[in-house]
């Protein structure tokens, strides 16, 4: 069990700290209790208990929505540095360091379950709480503490039902394996727990905040745990009893074991002192990566097993936005850990539909995924350009005001599209269509790679639904008009900025960074454009040279020379093709990337604007409140008790509004912060990816060139 606990990502983001702080105090007490309970439970029950305390203090939403790295690191750092001191720590953590007794108990627990030496348990105990997902705590809460804790836990934990099942599954193997307890008992336990937990969770389903990738990660660890337990104990039991879950775990077993081993070794080393956290971090980082690879798959299966019909939890903007509380920058940054998910979207087969000026291009949008939020693994829909714009409109309506960076779609090009509509077969219109197709594909990728946007029902509908209602009024929003609007808004806001005394330097600096980056990218874009033009020119010139060499070859009298010249003409023809390819590579890789990011920076600025607006609202409300208070004072002075009551009511009302707007502002600020950091990471990743692609294309063309020259050299030497 201890090993298994290491695996599971610790759910707890610091963002919750403030929200939960009052809870935490309670929680800490709870945790102590819980620890006691657990230890008691351990003795009687099994190894599964130790992880329980951790999660109870932490809200599951965060756990799920946040990347695992984060969760891993935070707990570790904290445990090492401040142990119980930090309010945001899980109960378990708090409980462990503070209470020696608890440690001992835990030790007992661990030693029992895993049969490891006494040294290990300490670290295990620490790690376990850290890593443990919300699920275990839930279990503990649900099962052991009963109804009394339910309220807290439901609030905190919105774990889906599958989790429950998993836990059960989970519990069984370790018991059987490590403790050699009778399987009957295990089964009994499992059965007993299941109903209780399901009830609990059934309630929670509605507010399920669970994001796919993250959820996957959290679940995965358990799987690995399980496998470990299995491998250690070699108990075949669990599989039979819990077939669905068992399958899942068995699948994972192979991939997971090495990680587990690593985890163990590190655990051992770290058991000696607290100071070895770096090791642990590495370890976990490793583990996370591996886990994340398989996670979606795992996740899906589990979900299916648990409750196939359960609606995918939509992480509504409000839910997620309510969560972020002021955090330190580092934490925010850590939060952004690569989330891999199994969702592959391609936009293909552009097709002209209709004739004349009413014609439009339809694109095939095919999705391949194993995410359970979609009805099937593979589906294809046809969408026209305005549908993409419509999607953007819907998303920005819902999410932009909360400070999210909504990826902008490609611009509408009247000129390009008119050409397509009018012209039959024209290379420039073919290029236009291909360029737009690629842009749309990138746009969709950006949308779905955003964890919050992916959860939006409109996105799912866009990808899945056969027929979409025709998007209207996309004209106004798309294209240059759209950009202009953003620019206007930015200008207006920059005027406002002067008024707004920025309380947070970070935002001020970031905004400036964004502005200057915008300039730089525009400059770079111009450079790349000229580069592309030069390349195109080069390919034209090379073609002409090839042609003249071919003519030379055909009128040359010396046969060997003539032959060589003809060969040379062919080589030059191929080189011309290379130049052409390189030009389009330059264009599609860099020019389009930069153009995308220039547009995205517009969206970033827009989200700064949203924050500004929220601030404005808050300030206005404050001014209003101030006025109301003055009125009250006047009334008090004038001694008019009848109106006084009304004034007081108004004050209360405005006080509520002020605090609401303040919260909103805080919330938007936090989201913007998070989004900007996410954006920057995404940007680095994107650029890196594109640079690698570019390098590969360069390398390929060089190698092609080598081949051409190598083939030509003997021809040249053959000239007598």
């Amino acid at each position: 069990m201890a090993a298994s606990s290491e695996r599971s990502p610790p759910p707890f983001p610091e963002s919750e700290e403030q929200e939960l702080e009052h809870d935490l105090e309670e929680d800490e007490e709870d945790s102590e209790e819980g620890a006691d309970i657990f230890t008691g439970g351990t003795l009687s029950d099994s190894a599964m208990d130790p992880p329980l305390p951790v999660s109870s203090s932490e809200p599951p939403k965060d756990i799920f929505s946040e990347p695992p790295a984060d969760t891993f690191k935070d707990p570790l750092n904290k445990t090492s540095a401040e142990k119980a001191a930090s309010g945001g720590l899980s109960k378990a953590q708090a409980a462990v360091p503070v209470k020696v007794a608890a440690d001992e108990e835990l030790d007992d627990l661990f030693s029992d379950s895993l049969g490891e030496s006494g040294a290990a348990p300490v670290t295990d105990a620490k790690i376990a709480p850290l890593l443990d997902l919300g699920e275990e705590p839930q279990k503990s809460d649900v099962i052991k503490k009963g109804a009394g804790k339910d309220d807290a836990s439901t609030e905190v934990l919105s774990a889906p039902q599958n989790d429950v099942i998993k836990k059960d599954i989970f519990e069984e193997p370790p018991k059987g394996a490590a403790k050699d307890l009778p399987t009957d008992i295990k089964d009994g336990n499992a059965a007993g727990k299941k109903p209780a937990s399901t009830d609990l969770f059934g309630d929670d389903d509605d507010e399920d905040l669970f994001k796919e990738p993250l959820g996957a990660m959290t679940k995965k660890p358990q799987g690995s745990l399980f496998t470990e337990a299995k491998s250690e104990a070699k108990a075949a039991r669990p599989e039979q009893s819990n077939s669905a879950a068992a399958d899942l775990f068995t699948e994972e077993a192979f991939t997971v074991t090495p990680v587990v081993a690593a985890a163990k070794s590190s655990v051992n080393t770290s058991s000696k002192t607290n100071g070895l956290h770096s090791d642990e971090e590495d370890l976990f980082a490793e583990a996370t990566v591996e886990l994340s690879l398989d996670s979606p798959h795992n996740d899906r299966r589990k979900r299916e097993a648990a409750k196939p019909s359960a609606p995918a939890p939509s992480l509504s903007a409000s839910a997620s936005t309510s969560k972020p509380q002021p955090k330190t920058l580092e934490e925010l940054e850590e939060e952004e850990k690569e989330d891999t998910f199994d969702l592959n979207i391609s936009v293909t087969n552009p097709e002209k539909v209709g004739d004349g000026m009413n014609a439009y291009m339809a694109y095939k949008v095919s999705t391949q995924t194993s995410l359970s939020m979609f009805r099937s693994k593979q589906f294809t829909v046809r969408r026209r350009f305005s549908d993409f714009l419509g999607l953007y409109e819907k998303l920005s309506e819902k999410h932009a005001q909360n400070g999210y960076i909504v990826p902008p779609p490609p611009e509408k090009s009247i000129l390009g599209m008119t050409k397509v509509k009018v012209g039959k077969e024209d290379p420039s219109s073919a290029e236009f269509v291909e360029r737009r197709r690629a842009a749309l594909e990138r746009y969709l990728h950006r949308v779905v790679s955003h964890p919050s946007l992916l959860q939006d029902p409109d996105v799912r509908e866009f990808l899945e639904k056969e027929e979409l209602p025709r998007a209207v009024s996309t004209q106004a929003l798309s294209g240059a008009g759209f950009l202009k609007m953003i620019n206007k808004a930015t200008d207006a806001v920059s005027k406002m900025t002067i008024k707004m005394n920025e309380s947070d330097v970070w935002f001020e600096e970031k905004l400036q960074e964004v502005e200057s980056e915008d300039q730089q990218l525009r400059k770079l874009h111009a450079m790349v454009e000229s580069l592309v033009n030069h390349r195109k020119e080069l390919s034209v010139n090379t073609a002409m040279f090839a042609k003249s060499v071919a003519m030379l070859g055909s009128s040359e009298d010396n046969t060997a020379l003539s032959r060589a010249l003809s060969q040379l003409a062919e080589v030059e023809d191929r080189i011309e093709q290379l130049h052409q390819d390189q030009a389009s590579n330059d264009f599609f890789i860099f020019a389009e990337l930069l153009a995308d990011y220039i547009r995205l920076l517009g969206a970033v600025r827009a989200c700064f604007d949203q924050r500004m607006k929220a601030w404005q609202r808050w300030q206005d409300a404050q001014n209003m409140l101030q006025k109301k208070r003055e009125t009250e004072a006047k009334l008090l002075w004038a001694n008019k008790p009848d109106k006084l009551q009304q004034a007081k009511d108004e004050i209360v009302e405005w006080e509520a509004k002020v605090s609401q707007y303040e919260r909103e502002f805080e919330r938007v600020s936090a989201t913007v912060r998070k989004e900007v950091i996410r954006f920057e990471k995404e940007k680095s990743r994107d650029f890196k990816k594109q640079i690698i692609r570019y390098l590969e294309s360069l390398l390929q063309s060089q190698q092609q060139l080598i081949k051409y020259w190598e083939a030509f050299l003997p021809e040249a030497k053959a000239i007598a």
Partner: protein, 371 residues
């Protein structure tokens, strides 16, 4: 000339002629030319300006004691260099083509060097007194000569218009003339196109340079994310720099091998055409003489026949020399072009290999890059 017995001693080893240095003084370029006599290992170094080269060429044209001189294909002298900065690069390019490219007149020197080597390697021309004094005299011979060359050229051009289409009596020469006209135009065209390609590559290298420099401006060290992004930008900058260097190398290769070769070849074609034209002029002269002698009144017939015979003899010598020259030229040009092509190909190959190795290094580094 000091004496015929010294001829062999004077003859210069063609391949030893080198232009080792060039200095620019205002509008004048001065070339340092070293050479070795084939009989001794001692080298001679002289300084010559372009005027001296013109003098040499003129001297070669106007040798009096060589039979069939008009049948000789004179190695072509490159046009006058335009070192003055007041002249735009474009004009220099138009006049000199490839020879205006390259650092420090390197390519032009190479072309002059080739010219001297070809003169020295020529069986007839290598014996010329002018070449000897050009290579050995410490004084600058060029100042002694007037500028009649230009006038000659002009009148030649006028004549050319008239006589270019003159039907030849000899089928060999007729076909040579046709193919020469055709080929020389084609070579000129190819050279121009190739020049365009090279210039384009240079512009591309320049654009890459700009791009890579502006990437440096994106560097921002404020926070970890920005640092990561900056690193990526710098990496990209390195890569673009590598691309730029690659293009520079490739265009240098182009210039120093095939570019020079094509330029030389097209100038040679021109020289051949000139020779053929000189022969055609002689032919016209001969035909006139023939007609005159036929129509001549009996009292003048003897003189006319004398003239006709002399012209006929001269024309025959010229034709035979021309035939030899053309055959020689065909051999030479093929091997010359072959060498240039091979050299070009090898250079391009090694450049491509280098750059592909460099790129794959970059690729590896990039892949390892943690973001």
């Amino acid at each position: 000339m000091k004496g015929s017995n010294e001829d062999s001693a004077q003859s210069v080893n063609g391949s030893s002629i080198k232009i080792t240095d060039v200095t620019q003084d205002g509008d004048t370029l001065t070339f340092a030319i070293t050479s070795q006599k084939s009989s001794s290992s001692a080298g001679v170094c002289v300084f010559r300006t372009y005027e001296d080269f013109e003098w040499l060429q003129q001297g070669l044209f106007s040798q009096e004691d060589v039979p069939g001189l008009q049948g000789v294909i004179f190695p072509p002298l490159p046009s006058k260099p335009l070192p003055s900065t007041s002249l735009s690069q474009a004009k220099a390019l138009k006049q000199l083509g490839f020879l205006a490219l390259g650092d420090e007149w390197m390519i032009y020197c190479k072309a002059l060097e080739l010219y001297l080597q070809q003169v020295a390697a020529h069986t007839t021309l290598s014996k010329s007194k002018a070449l000897y004094s050009f290579l050995n005299s410490s004084e600058s011979p060029g100042k002694q000569c007037g500028k009649k060359g230009i006038l000659n050229r002009l009148s030649q051009a006028m004549e050319e218009m008239r006589k270019e289409g003159h039907k030849d009596v000899d089928e060999f020469f007729q076909s040579e003339r046709d193919s020469s006209t055709n080929l020389s135009a084609l070579f000129k065209l190819s050279t121009e196109k190739f020049l365009d390609v090279v210039l384009n590559k240079q512009r591309l290298a320049l654009a890459c340079g700009h791009f890579s420099t502006s990437l440096h401006l994106c560097v921002n060290q404020d926070n970890p994310t920005a640092v990561a992004f900056s690193k990526i930008c710098l990496k990209l900058s390195d890569i673009i720099e590598a691309v730029k260097i690659n293009y520079e190398k490739v265009s240098d290769n182009d210039i120093s091998t095939l570019g020079l070769g094509l330029d030389l070849e097209s100038r040679y074609q021109e020289a051949k055409r000139e020779m053929l034209f000189r022969r055609t002029c002689k032919l016209v002269e001969l035909e006139t003489a023939n007609r005159n002698s036929e129509r001549a009144k009996p009292n003048k017939k003897a003189i006319m026949e004398g003239v006709q015979k002399a012209t006929q003899k001269e024309f025959d010598i010229i034709s035979s020399v021309a035939k030899q020259e053309i055959e020689h030229y065909h051999r030479d040009r093929v091997s010359l072009l072959r060498d240039f092509l091979i050299c070009w190909c090898e250079k391009q190959l090694s450049t491509a290999r280098e750059s592909s190795a460099l790129l794959s290094q970059h690729l590896d580094a990039c892949k390892k890059f943690a973001v």
